[in-house]
Amino acid sequence: MKVLAFGIVKEIMGGASVAVDANISVAALQASLEQQYPRLKQLSAFMIAVNGEYAGPDVIVKPGDEVAIIPPVSGG
């Protein structure tokens, strides 16, 4: 499945989306992304959104979900 990337994460990953495994927890997804893209560890933090809502570490990411990586926001 694909995850969407924005802002600095898009630059780190070199694109607006990357492919990852589904049926894993948000925490596992974060760990897997950090392994694949070590520069993510330099961020103050990054959250995962599932279907447009911030998702806690235990949420399971399923195929068909819209998953997004949310680096620290800075709107306003």
């Binding site: 924005f6 959104a49 447009g52 809502e53 949310i70 680096p71 709107g75 306003g76």
Partner: protein, 138 residues
């Protein structure tokens, strides 16, 4: 009543105020956030705003609904820009109309404070000698 918008084109204030004014609301508080020409002593050339639009709109709606639940306010408008902005351009407009001013001030301040924490919008500051995604690094 709420009016939530992400816009790739220039925001204008007067239509937002016209939307909010009514004979029911005696107090209207408006916040306008603009692009400053300097940040931390460095000259800003431009800002680039990027949004996760569908989620940004839904988080902005949540903020408006929460504010309407917390304070006796009649209307909340939140408009946010995306794209390339230069110093002086308007990045965000928030308008809150209430019967009395205290609720309008409290809800407006809550809205901008919460927007800056939860709404998935990002800005990159471009200086003469480099660029930086705001708040990304510790």
């Amino acid at each position: 009543m709420t009016d939530i918008k992400i816009s790739a084109t220039a925001l204008t204030v007067q239509p937002c105020i016209d939307w909010a004014l009514s004979a029911k609301s005696g107090g209207i508080d408006i916040f306008i956030g603009t692009v400053r020409d300097m940040t931390k002593g460095k000259k800003v050339v431009r800002l680039e705003f990027e949004a996760y639009e569908s989620m940004a709109v839904s988080e902005m709606k949540k903020i408006a609904n929460e504010a309407m639940a917390k304070w006796p306010v009649h209307k909340i408008l939140i408009h946010h820009r995306t794209g390339v902005l230069v110093p002086g351009d308007i990045a965000v407009i928030i308008v809150v109309a209430a019967a009395h001013r205290d609720a309008a001030f409290d809800a407006c301040r809550y809205a901008i404070d919460t927007l800056k924490k939860t709404v998935p919008i990002w800005k990159k500051e471009v200086f003469e000698d480099g660029e930086e995604w705001v708040a990304a690094r510790p």
